[in-house]
Amino acid sequence: MSFLDDFLSVGKSAVKFLGGDSIGSSLARTAITAYALNRSISASQKKNNVPQTRTVTKVSRVSLNPNPEHRIPVVYGQATLTGTVTDARQSSGLEMYFCVTICERTGKLTLGQGADSDFSLENVFWNDNRIIFQEDGRTVKGYYDRNNVFNTEIDGLMSIYFFNGSSDSPKLPKGYTSTVPLLSAFNIMPQWDSTWDMSDLVFAVVRINFDTEKNVKGLENIKFTVKNSMTLPGDCLYDIMTNARYGAGLADEEIYLA
């Protein structure tokens, strides 16, 4: 018998031991399997070079609490208002649309006999910073902060669409002109159709793209400076006395107009 025969006999004994039913053989098999698995994973990770880190998604929870008892204000002349969010839609995880109702549309000028009163958007303030638009008059380019420093970090992340009394009456802010066609509100707000007229309401649709790095996480504090073409005291008094929606609702014959 040579030394090779001794190796074979030892090997046969080892195989016979590992294949057995004893506690020892069972423990041995478990240890061998775990070791083999560990070596396999380590080899795989080394090959793929996978870093062992955890990723966290930052989400901003936006809560809206519009007051259903809030009476829509009436503006004569010029005023800065915060408005009330009357609708909000999330078109995707990173994009939201808000409908902000600003004020009522008033009646006709010249004691009710002239042209319709016309509203213009003078300024928009976002977190007390004055918004500046791109050339299209709708997409936000940046803002001037309180130190009059122009900041463009929110460029393209917001769009503001202003409407002068109905969904079919879009209007660019004061000082902007654009050849790009203006869309109706129901073509901008998701899930709106032509019946969503926002009748006799001056409002704005605000589109916001989520970006935590640039601190754009919601509508935040937004204010609109609107200007009504109805400024004469007589027109304003006549309007508030005769309008049935927000005024006294008096008939013409009950008012001395001479």
């Binding site: 929870r61 609490n65 259903p68 609708d87 009522e104 927000y246």
Partner: protein, 204 residues
């Protein structure tokens, strides 16, 4: 506006009343629908024609409570009573909807000989404008003639009092908006948004 009567040696004056009732039932038959009726009458002894409108003469059967004459306009109430109504008209009074009907009372100056209204500036002069707030019906029994008659008393509130208590303005809710624009759903979601949360930035 002051009326200049300096050129007239004698004049007569009377109160004229107009009540516009939108839902008036002239018959007790419940199958008949309501009609719009304008009631015009005066406390003059003879009928008066003012601005083409003929006012029925009630004389002493009509009475108007006193009101204060102030330099500054103020809200006041007034009671207008009409007596001597036959009891056969009871159902007509009960079935008609007088509450909320506009009331206009003027004082008219006329020629006492001809009962023609004087054509001068400011004639007739407005006395009271308001609406009927409430009314009551009282029956009077005449023992001697074994008959009864009705007296209806309208409690009227002036327009100024109404305006002082009026709250106007469209609210940010569906009911208020649809009261003016029934087919516009623009504010339907306001109530649903209250307390709603949006996970801005989450994958959808």
């Amino acid at each position: 506006m002051a009326i200049d009567l300096s050129t007239y040696k004698q004049i007569g004056s009377a109160l004229t009343v107009i009540i516009e009732v939108d839902e008036y039932k002239s018959n007790s038959n419940e199958n008949l629908s309501y009609t719009s009726q304008v009631l015009k009458f005066t406390d003059s002894l003879y009928p008066l024609t003012v601005d083409g409108q003929l006012y029925t003469a009630l004389g002493g059967l009509m009475s108007v409570s006193s009101t204060r004459n102030e330099l500054r306009s103020s809200g006041s109430s007034l009671t207008l009573a009409i007596s001597g109504i036959p009891t056969s008209r009871m159902s007509e009074i009960i079935n008609s909807k007088f509450k909320g009907s506009p009331v206009k009372i003027h004082r008219v100056v006329f020629n006492p000989q001809t009962y023609a209204v004087l054509d001068i500036a400011g004639n007739p002069a407005g006395r009271f404008f308001g609406i009927i707030d409430n009314y009551s019906v009282e029956e009077s029994w005449d023992q001697a003639n074994r008959t009864s008659s009705l007296t209806i008393a309208f409690e009227c509130t002036s327009l100024q009092s109404m305006l002082e208590n009026k709250l106007s303005g469209r609210k940010c809710n569906s009911d208020s908006h649809r009261a003016f624009y029934p087919n516009d759903p623009s504010l339907d979601r306001v109530t649903a948004l209250a307390g709603a949360n949006f996970d801005f930035g989450a994958k959808q």
